[in-house]
Amino acid sequence: MLHEEAILAVPVSAQDHVQGNAHAVVTLVEYGDFQCPACGSAYPLVKQIQHRYAGNLRFVFRHFPLGQAHPYAQLAAELAEAAAVEGRFWAMHDWLYENQAAWAAQGAAGLGAGARALGLDEAAIAATLRSPDIDARIRRDFMGGVRSGVNGTPGFYVNGSLYQGDIDALVHSIGRAIARQA
């Protein structure tokens, strides 16, 4: 079910982290938190959806760290942005979700393993993490999500409308949206 009142307030732009065909008929936007277990559970489903609909789907990830509930979510988001500076955002996004339980248990030290796993220069990453631009970027994503009506994580928007319901059924909602556009 797509929510009629909660509409994506910030259009997808060149500022976003985007995967897939720029001219796809369906755009799926996720507002996610790297330490959120529900986002971790949704991660393989999103991969399946991307695989299944390939050229018909564009996927966008935006930060929505709930830092009080998940104490390392903000640092994880910053690490993903620091990796993005090196052109490795998606590699870090995937690593953070695939290894969520392991790094979340160790906090900042666990996140250091992510930088090493991707072969990133840890000194360069540490320098980038101190940049206020990184925080500003994450906050901009977060407030855009708030204005769009994100009410928890993960928050998914299918062609600009908030998806409400079981994450397992998201694939059907996307399938229907593609069928309508075909």
């Binding site: 009080q68 509930a69 977060f142 708030v146 769009s148 994100v150």
Partner: protein
């Protein structure tokens, strides 16, 4: 009784925020207030909703607004929830007489004996400027609150400035 609407004076209240502290509406004169009534401590939807607001306290402060959350749960339950979830805003206990404040705002659910999931934005003069009732199981998010705060005259500096400038012009 239906939910109090914009333009209505907010009914006064004094409620426990902790087992030995009270919070009264009148303490917030001159500041904006967000009242979030919610059905129950520990329920999944309530926790997500309050977790989101907990991330927005700085944002609310930019609008000179304080968040107060209200349910019929007791002060000890509130204390445990706030500690467990690291909430940094008061949880008020509408416990005795049960639901009296929720009733005054027209958001008491008689059958279940809990507050409905309702939001109010109250200005510094104690007048309700915006209210919203969400279906019981639906987390309303914060988009409506942010829009309501932006629309408050006290926060609408851009609109008042040009008029002042115009008056000073020769």
């Amino acid at each position: 009784m239906s939910m109090l609407a914009a333009g209505t004076a907010a009914p006064e209240f004094t409620l426990h925020s902790t087992p030995d502290q009270n919070v009264a509406l009148k303490e917030f004169r001159g500041r904006n207030l967000i009242l979030a009534f919610y059905p129950a401590d520990w329920s999944p939807v309530c926790s997500d909703q309050l977790a989101l607001y907990n991330e927005l306290l700085d944002e609310f402060a930019r609008f000179n607004a304080q968040l107060l959350a209200i349910s019929v749960d007791g002060a000890w339950s509130h204390a445990a929830l706030a500690r467990d979830r690291r909430y940094h805003f008061p949880l008020l206990s509408d416990f005795e007489p049960k639901g009296q404040v929720a009733r005054a705002y027209g958001v008491y659910e008689e059958q279940a004996g809990v507050a409905r999931r309702a939001l109010f934005v109250i200005d510094g003069d104690g007048v309700i400027r915006w209210s919203y009732l969400s279906p019981m199981g639906v987390n309303p998010g914060a988009a409506g609150i942010v829009r309501a705060l932006e629309a408050l005259p006290s926060n609408n500096i851009q609109k008042t400035l040009p008029a002042d400038v115009a008056q000073e012009a020769p």
